[in-house]
């Protein structure tokens, strides 16, 4: 049975080049980058190379990149670090209702620490309510955190409009963008967004897990969450995870190369999948943004009458791997906060699956996946009707 992996927003298969490089780094370049001898120097060179590979995705300034243990830590450092550092200037924080838990739960923590948090709603397409945002920013606002691409339904937030709205009202308010789902898929226009902090992760783009980064605009001050040595400018102490950092650097270079060569773009794959599913005649709905406007790799569909988990396992049985809602939610039996924020009816909430694509998927694969999904939906619907 062919495996078709369509759960690339949960995590991706690391490229063989990455696994190979990480193995070699662990075998050969095992020195501590802080050591003065040659072993340390070669290890430190790896960090520099990785930083240089990542810098062009932001403002081409290496020193604005801090490596973290992943997207969750980058989000925590950005949100809690700025709130703690700026708490004397103001106590008001803003985020959206559809953020990833690694952002939302930071705000919940800060609420307990005496901060005031406003959660801006989204419309049925998943787009932030800009008017509401504009009315919510005040002189007490110190931080606004808005994700670039939503991990569950692929809405792309209009950061180019969001940034100016915030800065016009309160120039000192900082803008943090969770770009874990958009790195190497959409441009990170940090200057147009007027962003101050951007979080990224390697394992969503075929890199290693356990590594991410926080881009910090020069001059932005943060309170560290961990204390120790002066690695990563003291903002993220601890002996650097050199194999993973080297892997992050390599994957970002490889993705650039890969993206320039692909025959079909991610968007083409997604639309082809959708088209084939529509042609099959089964009954389903697209949740969140209209497919052309959403992120190129995320499609959230509801199959009313079915239970998402049952369909998920049924697809699994046929070699197709997808998520129900977001991977982080599937252990809980409550509907996802993101889909709930879209105002979906119960029937759609209970039957929502996320298909997420990668440069590794082919047109043939997505066509087959659509056909298999249609067959599984038909079979289950017939069985459950009795």
């Amino acid at each position: 049975m062919n495996e078709i992996y369509l759960d690339n927003s949960a995590t991706t298969r690391p490229f063989p080049e990455i696994i190979d490089l990480m193995g070699r780094v662990q075998e050969e370049t095992y020195g501590n980058p802080s050591s003065l001898h040659e072993k340390g120097v070669t290890a430190e060179q790896l960090l520099g190379k990785a930083r240089r590979s990542l810098a062009p995705f932001f403002r081409d300034r290496e020193k604005e990149i801090i490596f973290t243990s992943g997207g969750t830590e980058a989000n925590n450092l950005a949100v809690i670090g700025t709130a703690l550092r700026n708490c004397r200037r103001g106590k008001h924080l803003i985020t959206s209702a559809v953020e990833h838990p690694s952002v939302l739960n930071c705000f919940r923590f800060l609420e307990g620490q005496g901060f005031r948090v406003s959660y801006i709603p989204v419309d049925k397409n998943g787009t932030l309510d800009l008017d509401k945002l504009e009315r919510t920013v005040d002189e007490d606002t110190i931080l606004v955190s808005i994700m670039h691409v939503n991990n569950e339904m692929g809405a792309v937030q209009p950061l180019q409009e969001i940034g100016p709205v915030i800065k016009k009202r309160t120039p000192d308010a900082l803008l943090h963008v969770d770009a874990v789902q958009s790195l190497a898929k959409l441009p990170l226009a940090v200057d147009l967004w007027q962003a101050d902090l951007v979080s990224c992760s390697a394992h969503k783009i075929h890199g290693p897990r356990g590594i991410g980064c926080l881009w910090i605009r020069e001059g932005t001050l943060l309170q560290p969450l961990l204390y120790g040595g002066d690695q990563e400018r003291g903002l993220r102490p601890g002996t650097e995870n050199t194999p993973a950092i080297a892997g992050f650097g390599l994957i970002i270079r490889l993705m650039e190369e890969k993206l320039s060569k692909v025959e079909k773009s991610l968007m083409d794959l997604k639309l082809a999948f959708l088209e084939h599913l529509q042609d099959s005649g089964i009954h389903f709905f697209v949740n969140g943004p209209s497919p052309e406007k959403g992120a190129p790799h995320i499609l959230n569909l509801s199959f009313p009458g079915l239970k998402a988990e049952v369909l998920l396992h049924s697809l699994e049985e046929r070699g197709i791997y997808v998520s129900s809602g977001s991977a982080c939610h599937s252990r809980r039996l409550e509907p996802s906060h993101v889909l709930t924020a879209l105002g979906l009816e119960r029937e759609k909430l209970d039957s929502a699956l996320r298909f997420s694509f990668s440069v590794e998927n082919t047109l043939a694969e997505v066509k087959e996946a659509a056909a298999v999904t249609a067959a599984a939906v038909r079979e289950l619907a017939a069985f459950l009707k009795k």
């Binding site: 998920l312 396992h313 009795k386």
Partner: protein, 389 residues
Amino acid sequence: MNTKILVRYGEIALKGKNRGQFEQQLLRNMKSAVSGSSTGITRLHGRFLVEGPAEKETFLIRQLQRVFGIVSLSPVTETALELEEIKTAAVRITKALPPGLKTFKVEARRSNKKFPLTSPELNSQLGAHLLHTFPGLEVRLQHPSFTLSVEIGYHSAFLYSENIAGPGGLPVRISGRALLLLSGGIDSPVAGWLSMKRGLAIEALHFHSFPFTSRKAEEKAVDLCRHLSLWGNRIPLHLMSITPVQKLLQSAVPSELRIIILRRIMIRLAEKLCNERKMKAIITGDNLGQVASQTLESLAVTEQASQMLILRPLIGMDKREIIRRAEAIDSYDISIRPHEDCCTLLVPKNPATKPKLEAVAEAEGCLDLSELLDEAYNTLETRTGNFIS
């Protein structure tokens, strides 16, 4: 310094000529419970002495508390058969007790009648010595705050102040082997535990209905097996898919009979597995009257699907008692993890509470039962990982 733990086993000493066999099994089970901790076990008259590194005492006690057949345990001080040594040990034990214990008694037992003092003499001499050494203490024979016990054996004396309850029961394996139907719910692990307590070695059979249930429901069964395995035998877990059966029943039998026929098929599959692996009984977590499938009529009709002996250890327990027991053996937290087991899906709204065997047999007559059984049986997978961590 070594720690010494005196292990008592009550019930099995009563079993006449089987006694040797019982003691052998208990010894084997104890050895496997404390293996890997440089521990030695010696057999004394009617009990065992477990000896191991002092820092392992808590570990050893916890492990031994899970060996069925053990009635109680006491960490002991061993001395030569000299009164002065016994007195010194008695003082040391008393000193180590938590402060604030004001009243005590001494309880001496003498299995070695050659020891110069009788038990009452020893009681009074040791008592007097302790009263003299610790002026704040008082003797009280009824409900003292601690009891210092002294056992005079043939080679040495044992002194202790603690008596820790063991799990009781019979050594696992002594009663034979049986198959537990393990659903992943609260009841079946308790049924398995109670069976092990009466000396059965068990294997487990879990029916899943992938894709209608998650693989994570199977992990729950695996975790339950690993957990029950702590109580004395590595429990192999057999997994079978019941999905083809459920699918067929959905279309081929009247809805009110689906559950009872499903259960009869499960029992037949269990019987087949028992025969293949030479097990002598099926154990279920059935409890009278909890749900429609557990009325006396349903249990009877289910039972008639096979020739195998079916044990239902929970039959006399209330739900509350079952939950309390599940909590006590720590299976409860695993059981309540939110994954649906294969019975909670596809349940018809009105299952028959008093099914008639004739009606059930007639409905089954329309099915190609042997082919269906083979199809389900062929999905059998067995996991025998190293459950004891």
